[in-house]
């Protein structure tokens, strides 16, 4: 596998990958790198192209354009059965006619490993994943959590470089998910293989991923650490997709000292400019402010202010979340620690404020709808 190898510290690199189904563009010029042992989450709404991207990596779909590099080798023409990649399917795709033992040994058998090695390693793997008691059972007698372990053991026994996971906990009971998530994270850390985890659940993506890739309409909207995605949403889509952002649309009124003044239907606000952007006066833009950065008791540093009426209060244990209505009828969210001494009552009128640096101006041409 060393012929023409490059970037061997990278488990995966996608270069401008595009995939069409007829006239429908499923993946548009997606570029992505996965460093060795990285945990990458593809996050986005259903139909955004995240699963297709995963299938292209697995070789189950061919990229129409662009290149797929696996462990430094161009893999566009490598069929799935020759790629050093394992995949976990949403429905686990366990073979109904095979016992757990047979199932877990399938990968080694297909690789043509000696019988002796299979006889030794299957029980080891069964023990590692604590499914040795299920060895002679068939999948239809297993619970969801057990199936999940079997699928994981089956995928990992061949020690692949990358494990692809398509909504791997989506079909599990809610109560199981947290524990399974932690377990998978531990497995990934222990084996030091790359995980590419597809999900539409931002909590999964943020708590697991070293790197989160937000996709929408076949494109990558933003790539970054969970903190970056959370605190500095790059586009209007990311801001509106990630919970807790209040998004404002408006027009640039003036640009000065790395700040813009944006005129919106509910007033003018000052927002810092992203380093990479240089908005022009009169351009349509959007920006967002996180719910927990708004305050109902603005001080002198809270330059941006807007009147609002409280519509509903949600008590979530550690925080209280308020739903407030702006003068133009749109709603904003405000979160405060439940321990905070002040409260807003339903129907109360308040003035919301936030600091200039709390606003995040969005990039791209698709900001205004």
């Amino acid at each position: 596998m060393s012929k023409g190898a490059e970037h061997t510290d990278r488990d995966l690199e996608l270069r401008d990958v595009t995939k069409r189904f007829g006239t429908f563009v499923a993946v548009h010029r997606v570029s992505l790198t996965v460093e060795r042992g990285q945990f990458v989450c593809l996050l986005g709404p259903s139909g955004c192209g995240k699963t297709t991207t995963l299938r292209i990596v697995a070789g189950l779909e061919d990229a129409d354009e662009g290149e797929v590099w696996i462990s430094g080798v161009r893999a566009n023409d490598t069929p799935p059965w020759k790629r050093d990649i394992a995949m976990m399917f949403q429905d686990f795709a366990l073979f109904p006619h095979m016992t757990v033992r047979k199932q877990v040994g399938f990968g080694l058998e297909m690789l043509g490993r000696p019988k002796e090695e299979i006889r030794r390693r299957v029980p080891e793997t069964l023990a590692t994943f604590e499914i040795d008691a299920l060895a002679e059972r068939k999948p239809d007698t297993l619970s969801g959590g057990q199936k999940q372990r079997v699928a994981l053991a089956r995928a990992l026994i061949t020690e692949p470089r990358i494990l692809l996971l398509d909504e791997p906990i989506g079909s599990l009971d809610f109560s199981l998910r947290e524990a399974v998530m932690l377990e998978l994270k531990n497995v990934q850390r222990r084996l030091r293989i790359s995980f590419i985890w597809v999900t539409h659940d931002q909590n999964e993506a943020f708590s697991l991923g070293d790197k989160v890739v937000v996709m929408n309409h076949a494109r990558i909207e933003q790539v970054g650490s969970p903190e970056v995605i959370f605190e500095r949403p790059r586009t209007r889509f990311v801001a509106s997709f990630i919970q807790g952002n209040n998004v404002f649309d408006g027009v640039v009124e003036s640009v000065q000292d790395g700040r813009v003044r944006v005129q919106t239907p509910v007033g003018g606000f000052v927002v810092p400019v992203r380093e990479t952007e240089s908005p022009l006066k009169g351009a349509g833009v959007s920006f967002s402010v996180r719910a927990e950065l708004l305050t109902e008791r603005p001080g002198p540093e809270h330059v941006n202010r807007v009147p609002a009426t409280c519509r509903a209060v949600e008590y979530l244990g550690s925080v209280r979340r308020y739903d407030l209505r702006l003068p133009d009828g749109r709603s904003v969210k405000l979160e405060q620690f439940a321990a905070s001494p002040t409260r807003i009552d339903e129907g109360e009128q308040v003035t919301l404020g936030w600091r200039v640096e709390d606003g995040v101006l969005h990039a791209g041409a698709d900001q205004i709808r």
Binding site: A86, F89, Q90, F106, M110, P139
Partner: protein, 288 residues
């Protein structure tokens, strides 16, 4: 869902009409045939003494035993051909053809011939197979043969060709059904585990479609065993299977002996189905 409990009196009452119908139209006549097969006299009489003489007569005549063996042989040949052909058609239609309108088109091409009666379909083979038929004309035109081949019509080859065309779909249908119920992700998962397409086929697809194969083979087995029309129309009078002998004896009024044939045919069928069901438990047709 209905709330009818399994063994409530209502459910028995509801099952009654069908049960009576089955009893009157199937069970009683079948028992009657068995009874008649033991009649010792030729005449139609309820008081006829019972004996094994008809069965003895059958097995003492090598010609009849040969017909029995021929019937079995023909059935096995048909099962082998329809197994391979039917599976290929099913696999192609379900796995290879992806576009829905192609699937529909293929389905119609396969099914439309069966909208006409079996008789028409049988007779339609004659202008194909005859000495001046389509096949011979084509072979002559292509220069494959120098003179027309007489072996197509009124021959075992002709019967086999026609039967293959009639019964392949019986082998295809159940496989299509089972194949469609296998999630694509199973084949993909096997590929991701390093299985080449050939190994995916033999290790995943074939074992999971086995119930469909067996059901299809039971249908082919039963139909070919009982088929007499094809042999008489396309085989001329030169070839006979058990079904033909039953008809022949019935026509000549030898009811007890015809019944012996019918009973033997039934026993063969029961035995064959029992063997096939041993291969796979069709009650477990449900794939997740």
């Amino acid at each position: 869902m209905s709330t009818l409990r399994q063994r409530s009196p209502v459910s028995y009452a509801l099952a009654m009409p069908a049960a009576l119908w089955m009893l009157g139209a199937l069970v009683v006549p079948t028992l009657f045939i068995v009874w008649v097969s033991f009649w010792a006299s030729r005449s139609f009489s309820l008081g006829s003494p019972l004996a094994l003489i008809n069965y003895a007569k059958f097995f003492q005549r090598p010609a009849y035993v040969k017909v029995l063996l021929d019937t079995f042989q023909q059935t096995l040949i048909l099962m082998a051909i329809t197994l391979v052909l039917g599976y290929c058609i099913a696999y192609f239609a379900v796995v290879q053809v992806r576009r829905p309108h192609w699937k529909l088109g293929l389905f119609l091409v396969l099914v439309i011939p069966f909208w006409t009666s079996a008789l028409i379909r049988t007779i339609a083979w004659i202008p194909f197979l005859g000495v001046t038929g389509v096949i011979n004309q084509a072979l002559l035109f292509l220069g494959v043969v120098g003179q027309p081949v007489g072996a197509f019509l009124y021959s075992r080859t002709g019967i086999t060709l026609a039967q293959v065309s009639f019964y392949t779909l019986l082998a295809t249908g159940p496989v299509v059904y089972v194949l469609r119920n296998i999630p694509v992700s199973l084949r993909e998962a096997a590929q991701c585990l390093g299985a080449t397409p050939a190994r995916v086929f033999w290790r995943i697809t074939v074992p999971l479609t086995l119930p469909g194969v067996v059901i299809g083979q039971i249908l082919v087995f039963l139909n070919v065993m009982a088929d007499f029309a094809t042999a008489s129309a396309i085989g001329g009078n030169k070839h006979a299977y058990l079904g033909n002998i039953v008809v022949l004896l019935y026509d000549s009024g030898q009811l007890p002996f015809a019944s012996v044939m019918a009973v033997l045919l039934m026993l063969c069928m029961l035995g064959g189905v029992a063997v096939l069901l041993k291969v796979v438990d069709i009650r477990r047709l449900g794939i997740p």
